[in-house]
Symmetry: none
Subunit: 236 residues, 2 copies
């Protein structure tokens, strides 16, 4: 099962039909396919098709609704996107957090990301239906993302969270836990041998080095290189 199939994008009262097409294209590039429209000003429309490029299948499967409630039927999690200052309490989450939350739900249930119209965003009545608010961090002097660009950012974060790490892990061949631990033991012994680490007074040295290498997420080949260096130090 593809988790992304359990996530719908809902566009409320979209003014420009071109944005609907561009949003469909943005979705398809990131493996999303389920687009809902609530009272679009103009749809269907030739401009939507022009902007969708090769994503006409997404347009053809669009569900057009009269109310946001209808568009959210069956959803266990509803995240509303907002750019308005007054709604930006400390509770508004980032696109990355929103993607993570949506994917947790999407393993077995439905989740929705809801975008307001181009000019005024989500209305108060629409916001009430959202369990979570999300906000795309932006230039405080000019935070006006194009609607399809905002969809692209959220779709990208969803894809990164759902698909990319798997591919990346395979491609990079991350070192296993045992391999990394073997490196730390080797590193610690070498640091003792060269007199940098006093085993009677180790302080936090190894935990600091562990943190550094944990952030880097060591690959198999990198562990081999690092242990090769440690071996060369011993032979010196």
């Amino acid at each position: 099962m593809n988790k992304l199939d359990h996530i719908r994008i809902v566009l409320c009262q979209t003014s420009h039909p071109g944005n609907i097409g561009a949003a469909a294209r943005a979705m398809k590039t990131m493996g999303l396919s389920r687009l809902y429209l609530v009272r679009p000003r103009k749809f269907p429309h030739a401009e939507s098709y022009a902007m969708a490029s090769g994503a006409t299948d997404v347009l053809e499967n669009i569900v057009v609704c009269e109310t946001l409630e209808q568009a959210l039927q069956g959803c266990s999690l509803v995240i509303g996107l907002t750019a308005r200052k007054r709604e930006l309490s400390h509770d508004a989450i980032s696109p990355r957090e929103a993607a993570a939350e949506a994917l947790v739900i999407a393993t077995s249930q439905e989740a929705a990301l809801v975008f307001g119209g181009e000019t005024s965003g989500l209305s108060n009545e629409e916001l009430i239906l959202c369990q979570r608010l999300a906000h795309i961090p932006a230039n405080p002097k000019y935070s006006s993302l194009n609607l399809a660009a905002a969809v692209q950012v959220l779709a990208y974060e969803l894809y990164m969270a759902a698909e990319a790490p798997q591919a990346a892990v395979k491609r990079l061949q991350l070192a296993t836990h045992d391999e990394v631990e073997g490196f730390y033991i080797h590193l610690e012994q070498t640091l003792i041998d060269i007199g940098f680490l006093d085993p009677a007074l180790p302080k936090r040295l190894m935990s600091r080095l562990r943190r550094l290498f944990t952030r880097a997420r060591l690959q198999k080949e990198e562990v081999n290189i690092l242990r090769g260096i440690l071996k060369s130090i011993s032979k010196k």
Copy 2:
């Protein structure tokens, strides 16, 4: 100083002037302002201004160049965006990694992100000028992001890395470019001294190690620890 001011976006041979405007808007929402064009098909053009919305200042400061070399003058790091399969060796980095690398450079030097034309992407001659390739992970069946949407994704990652975690960055006190470069020189010399690196046959060892430590984003104190270890090795 704002690090984002040290990062330029370079669009090569853009066909649609609307995309130039949309890219300018995407940049401005994420605090970027420096847009370079290499042989755009049509610019200046009314469509660029229409799509830029409130980002006309970015359009007005555009630098138009005849060659990519001209657009890259003064850059210490050049990252090329590619979607083509055959360039996707294991070396292509993600937008998140590209943003992290660009920001390390942007503390004191200039970095460029280079985007190819809408239909064929970057040419081989253009790719040769890029020190790094980056790739936006996408649906393998439909990976055709709109040009401005691709700019939005990279600009978003830059903003997230530069601005959103500011508090964290301050707390961590990242090492400066010079400090990190000083460490690499010290590391390389030590690897030669212990016989691990043959200066006559260096292969890609240093670039692999650089990549590892770039991913970790070294802190000042970590550079001090690592150089302390290198000193102890020399004394052994």
